[in-house]
Every structure is written in C-alpha cells, then in structure tokens.
C-alpha cells in the first residue's frame, strides 16, 4: 500500500507537516472564477505554506485545474485575489507575471512537450531561455534532470517515440529544470502504471525536499496523495461554484465525518454529490411512461 511506503513516510517525516509558522507561498483570498456564465469557483480562501506538499482534491470538473491555472496566471480571477510569493498576481502586467512564473514550474496533465524537439531539447528549453549557461553546463544539467525522472536513456527520443507516462516524466524534468520554488502538478498520477505511480509519488515528495520547494498537486488518487501530502484541500461542487469542503492533514481527513469527504475518500455512489448528471426520469426517456 502506498501509505506504508517506507521511503514516502520517511521523506514526509523530514518536513514539518503543518508548519504553521511558514510563510504562505500561495494565498487565495475570497476568490471566484467562471468561464462565461458558468461559475466554477465560489469565494474560496486558503493558503499554501512554504515547504509543503499540498494536494487539491475533489470530483471531476470541480475546478482543481482552474486553481492551478489561477496560480500560474494563465487565467485571472473575476473576484478576489491570488497572492503568489507574497504579492498579488497581476495577469495584466507581463513583466511582474513573468517574474513570478520564473520561480515556478507547472507539470501539465498531458505533458505539453514541444513535439518537434527531443526530450533533451525540451528539458533544455527553459534553461536556454532564461540563462546564459554554456552548452556543456546545459548538457550536464539536462542529463541530471532526466536522470531524476529515470529517462536519461531517452534523451534523444522525440515525444512521439515515448509513452504518455514517459512524456509526463520528461515534462516533470522540464518543469524542475530551473529548480523552481513552487512546483504545480496537474494530475501527475493519471494513466500511470503502478510502478510509475509509486515512483512518481516518491519523486514529487523527494524533489520537494531536495529543492526546498513547495508543491501543489491536483489529483484524484487518494492513496498516493495521502502518502506524500502534508496538507490536503478538498473541494465540493455547489450550484454557485466549487467551495472548499474540508482541509487538513491526511490523518485529520481520514478521521473526518463530513459527508462529502467520506463519500469522496470512500468512493461511494450515494452521498451529497450525485453521480448522475441531472436528467428527466429514465422511464420518460425510454417512452415507458411513469413519472
């Protein structure tokens, strides 16, 4: 079981799980966001503290990825603010936005690798863009990053020549190429085989400790997340957009009696969240009469 993984437990114990004194790296202040008329997030406030691995969890479509996009400034809040590294993120001011982005790395759900470049060139890309390092130095750095994700041997392959899971690991190497202070992971465990899943979970924890970074993981994978996260935020859907339903350490959430948290963690069909999208009665749909 992932939660019994000695490496993950040992790595997790190396940092203070709650670190109340640590400064917030990311802070959401009464934030609301929607796409057009569709409200996604409704008045959410919470803080992510330095040095932690934090998981954002909740059902599909609840707005977890949107929260990552808000942190990285890819979308701007409609109400409220997002503070990153202690300053409000101003997506209209490109210079300030790019200054903040240079200190973070984002792992996209499907990698978003540049398909015309090799794995090596993909990882080298941010280094070439933002530093004046020599080619030999860049080569060493890139191979080290690829070694971290176990893909040094695939350096000269194109993204089309590797599997989806490998592409995501290359994307992870690219995201950490400049040793960011804040690493954002969008569904890092989706579609991974059990071996890659465990390795990736440990990698997220290990990288966070090694870089002294803060990690924000958007995921549905309860077991792996509870093994590596210091703090977990659970979001629940509501008619006015997603709200923060619960937060705490993995232990606190395991003990939670909140009906939504229980439904989510136990994977129950019955509960506050309806499995079926609202629809007319099934009898009516098949022309069988009835209510």
């Amino acid at each position: 079981m992932p939660s019994d993984d000695p490496v993950a437990v040992q790595q997790k114990a190396a940092v203070a799980p709650d670190a109340p004194g640590a400064s917030p790296v990311v802070a959401f202040r009464r934030l609301s966001f929607g796409y057009g008329d569709r409200q996604i997030i409704d008045g959410v406030s919470f803080e992510i503290r330095s040095g932690q691995v934090v998981a954002l969890m909740g059902g599909s479509g609840v707005g977890k990825t949107t929260l990552l996009r808000l942190i990285s400034g890819l979308v701007a809040p409609q109400q409220g603010t997002v503070e990153v590294f202690g300053k409000p993120l101003d997506s209209t001011h490109q210079t300030r936005l790019y200054e903040a982005r240079r200190r973070m790395g984002l792992l996209f759900q499907f990698g978003a690798l540049f398909t015309d470049l090799t794995c090596f060139e993909n990882v080298a890309f941010p280094i070439r863009e933002h530093t004046n390092l020599s080619e030999s130095m860049i080569r060493d750095l890139v191979l080290l990053k690829l070694e971290c994700v176990g893909l040094r041997g695939a350096a000269e392959l194109k993204p089309s020549e590797i599997s989806g899971g490998m592409a995501r690991r290359v994307a992870l190497a690219r995201a950490i190429a400049l040793d960011p202070e804040l690493i954002l992971y969008d569904e890092p465990f989706a579609g991974l085989d059990p071996i890659s899943l465990g390795v990736t979970a440990n990698l997220i924890r290990g990288l966070n400790n090694a870089l002294g970074a803060t990690s924000v993981v958007v995921t549905h994978d309860v077991a792996e997340t509870f093994a590596i996260a210091d703090r977990i935020f659970v979001f629940a859907p509501s008619p006015t957009g997603a709200k923060l339903a619960a937060q705490g350490t993995p232990e606190e959430l395991r003990m939670s009696e909140d009906p939504f948290v229980r439904q989510f963690l136990d994977g129950r069909m019955d509960g506050p969240v309806r499995f079926h999208y609202p629809a007319p009665p099934i009898g009516q749909a098949f022309g069988l009469g009835g209510p």
Partner: protein, 262 residues
C-alpha cells in the same frame, strides 16, 4: 420577421468583421512592439525563412513557369493581331512583375505555407504548448509568432521575385524558342519598357504588403483557433479564404494607388 433576421445577421457579420480587424491590428501591434526581442535571435527567423520558403518553393516555380508559358502564348496571339508581337517580352514582364508575380505567389503562399502555419500554431495551442511557454515565462508572441511573421515577410517577396523570373523564362520559351519571336526584340523591349522604380519596386512593395497580410492572417487564425480538431480545421480553411480575399482586395487598392489616377 425574415427582414429583421436578415438585418440581425448582417449586423452580426459586420461586428465579426470589425472584431476580426481589431484582433488583426492588436496582434500585429504586439508583434511589432516585440521586434527588438524577435530580431535578437536571427537564427529563429532564419529557420522560418528556410521552412516557409522550402514549403512553397516547388509550387511557386512550377506555377510561375506555367503562368509564363500561358502568358507568352496568349500574349503572342493578341499582339499578332496588331503586328506588335515584338512587344511580347514587355507584356509578359509587366504582367508578371506588376501583378501576377506578387498576387499569385501570395495566393500560393497562403494555400501552402499559410495553412501550415495556422495548423502548427493551432495544434500547439490544442496541445497546451503555448500555455507551457507562458508558464515558463516565455512570451509566445515573441518566441513563436514573431519569427514566423518576419519569416513570411521576407519569404513572400523572394517567392514573388522567383515566380516572376521563372514566368518570364516561360514566356521566352513559348515566344522565342517555340514560336520564333525575335530574341533581341523580346529582351530589348522588356529592358526598355520596364521601369525599375515604377514597376519592379512597386511589385516588390506589393509582395511585402501581401506577405504581411497573409502571414499575419495565418498566425491570427492559428493563435485564435478553438483548441479542438474542428477548431484547427476551421482556422486552416479561414486562412486560405480570408488570406486570398485580402490579397485580391489589397491588390486592387495598391494598384489604384501605384499605377492608377484614382
């Protein structure tokens, strides 16, 4: 109600047109404002010149040759009626340098390289590669759009020049080699009647304007495409339609300004 609906549709079309013009101008301004940053890496522009030029070179050369052959043949038949077949070289050269070279080269560029640009950028958007650039604090306008814009701007006049040169060669093949027009008259009428500034330079100016329009339309369609297969397909089609109409419309305006007395 039908009249009201028609007026509403017309209004929507007008709004879409004005919005399109606005987006065109905003994106063009963004690229121009980043000119310094874009030209700091001439290697990227060179790569685009190579890529876009290679994409269109074969079709431009073949099309130019055939247009020249047809122009030579039709020109000869028409001029012979007036006993002026010696002026065939002048007719072929003026037609190609002033009009057909810049216009057809730009139309072929829109269909060949323009669609490729739109599809490439649309797919980069669909694959979140542009968003990945943004999150890496790399400006996609300066890094992706800018080099392609200046690449297109350089390539279209070069292609138009090649088109005209090969077309003149085609006219010479038909007129002089096959039909037997006097070669001395063919070349001397051409060199005497074609003015460098009025004809050649104006033709080059036209192709620069067409290059800006077609490349910018291709980039705008790709950058603004819906990140779905249908969205990219629609954007690619629009590149050809809008790009071609823009070239033809601009050609009329430029011709009126350069050669007319309007």
């Amino acid at each position: 109600m039908a009249i009201v609906d028609s007026i509403a549709s017309l209004g929507q079309a007008c709004i879409r047109f004005v919005l399109g013009l606005g987006n065109f101008a905003i994106l063009l301004a963004k690229i121009l404002m980043r000119t310094g940053a874009i030209w700091r890496r001439p290697r990227l522009i060179g790569a685009q010149v190579h890529f876009l030029g290679n994409h269109s070179l074969a079709i431009i050369l073949v099309a130019g040759l055939f247009v020249g052959l047809v122009l030579g043949l039709q020109g000869y038949y028409t001029l012979r009626r007036y006993g002026s077949e010696q002026a065939l070289g002048l007719l072929v050269a003026l037609a190609l340098v002033r009009e057909l070279g810049p216009v057809i080269a730009a139309l072929l560029f829109a269909g060949r390289a323009g669609t490729s640009l739109t599809a490439e950028i649309g797919l980069m958007k669909a694959g979140e590669q542009l968003a990945a650039l943004e999150t890496m604090a790399v400006d996609p306008v300066a890094r992706v759009l800018g080099p392609r814009f200046y690449g297109g701007l350089i390539v279209v006049p070069l292609l138009a020049t090649l088109f005209s040169a090969v077309g003149i060669l085609g006219g010479w093949l038909v007129g002089v080699v096959l039909i037997g027009v006097d070669p001395g008259a063919f070349w001397s009428q051409m060199s005497g009647g074609v003015d460098f500034w009025d004809d050649v330079v104006n033709g080059v100016i036209k192709s620069v304007v067409f290059g800006i329009a077609v490349t910018q339309i291709a980039l705008m369609q790709g950058y603004g495409a819906q990140p779905t297969p249908e969205g990219v397909a629609r954007a690619t089609t629009l590149t050809v339609v809008v790009g071609s109409l823009a070239v033809l419309g601009l050609d009329f305006v430029l011709t009126a300004l350069m050669f007319g007395e309007l």
